[in-house]
Assembly symmetry: C2
Homo-oligomer: 213 residues x 2
């Protein structure tokens, strides 16, 4: 990553913030006004010192014996992880996994709004998956440039991943959330975030073979 | 993790092994007999020293200027990550994400075979998703104990996750691949591997805001 930003948040911190947010939202829902790092740590079964360090990045100020004001902390976490903004996104590859992602209720709440999905299967054109229209892959570039879309979620088969990526990048996409197992080649200005289920499966299987944690 | 195993593989190594396997399987398919750490490193855009260290865990022996015999290396990687074994698994929660996972072609090739799925929705009972029968959640314990199932993939809504987990553990499940955002409480003997899409989304959004890599 570059140093182009003023603030740098450690990736492990960023990965933990959504679970903190989930815990304090539940407390907020119950009518609580304050939360301590220890409350969050206990709920998630992690070290409270780690939680305290992570929360320091939010710039919310904790008071001794009272903790953090929940509304302030929610705002701080959301603004770090960008869930206070709204981004339009497209999805390319409306197969099993793609369709599941289109229906995931958590994304729009977190600022990621699917405005269209694209697929190469003619039979899908004009159909809707979870209120999102499936459009012909031929219309990909036109849609991206006209709507100034910057984010694409990639759920195409491996063999098509790089070719579709090239088209996305040429059309102006700035970030790709990649669910294919392929390592995508993109210019340095484009962000690729890859989720690899097979890595997770491998770790799971090794831990199972080992027998316990 | 415990020290109960003879060998310990670093988690980052385990996470990388599936992508190495993908690269060398493609070379094998092309008729190649040998592969070097540099070949793999170049294909994946990572450091060749890292690849060499990772491959050392496979106990495959590389020859200078020739590299590793591909068949030997594939065997070595598969045996580390358990993809040379076959495990029966159940899936609980046949919603959007669960159905997508049932249809994922990669799992059975990697030794994870879904033999049944369970759901609380009566309308789904007896239907099939990707050749896997959806059974009533009431039959969960009976099925696990009769078939001696040890692995469960959890794709239920958050509110049901802990309760279903307790039932799985009581019935004898030894490992849970958890796709709910909940931190599950289990006895130390049970392995929980959690995939958290929201963590991935958070990292993606922060990197997008930062603008480049």
């Amino acid at each position: 990553m570059t140093d182009s930003s003023d603030k740098k948040y450690p990736v492990p911190t960023i990965r933990r913030l959504p679970s903190y947010l989930r815990v304090i939202k539940a407390l907020d829902f119950e009518g609580r006004e304050f939360v301590s790092a220890t409350d969050i740590a206990n709920e998630l079964g992690i070290d409270s010192i780690k939680v305290r360090k992570d929360l320091a990045y939010t710039e919310a100020t904790g008071k001794p014996r009272v903790g953090y004001r929940i509304t302030e902390l929610m705002h701080g976490i959301r603004s770090i992880i960008g869930w206070d903004r709204n981004s339009e996104a497209i999805l390319v590859g409306a197969g099993c996994l793609g369709s599941a992602l289109l229906g995931f209720p958590g994304f729009s709440k977190r600022g990621l709004n699917f405005v269209a999905a694209f697929d190469a299967d003619r039979e899908k054109y004009g159909t809707y998956v979870h209120e999102c229209e499936i459009k012909p892959i031929e219309e990909l570039e036109k849609f991206i440039t006209e709507r100034l879309i910057e984010i694409a979620v990639l759920t195409v088969p491996s063999f098509a991943a790089q070719q579709v990526t090239d088209r996305l990048v040429n059309a102006g996409i700035k970030g790709i959330w990649n669910f294919s197992p392929v390592r995508l080649k993109v210019p340095p200005s484009v962000v690729v975030q890859s989720e690899n289920l097979m890595s997770g499966l491998a770790v799971f299987m090794v831990r199972m073979a080992r027998g316990a944690e």
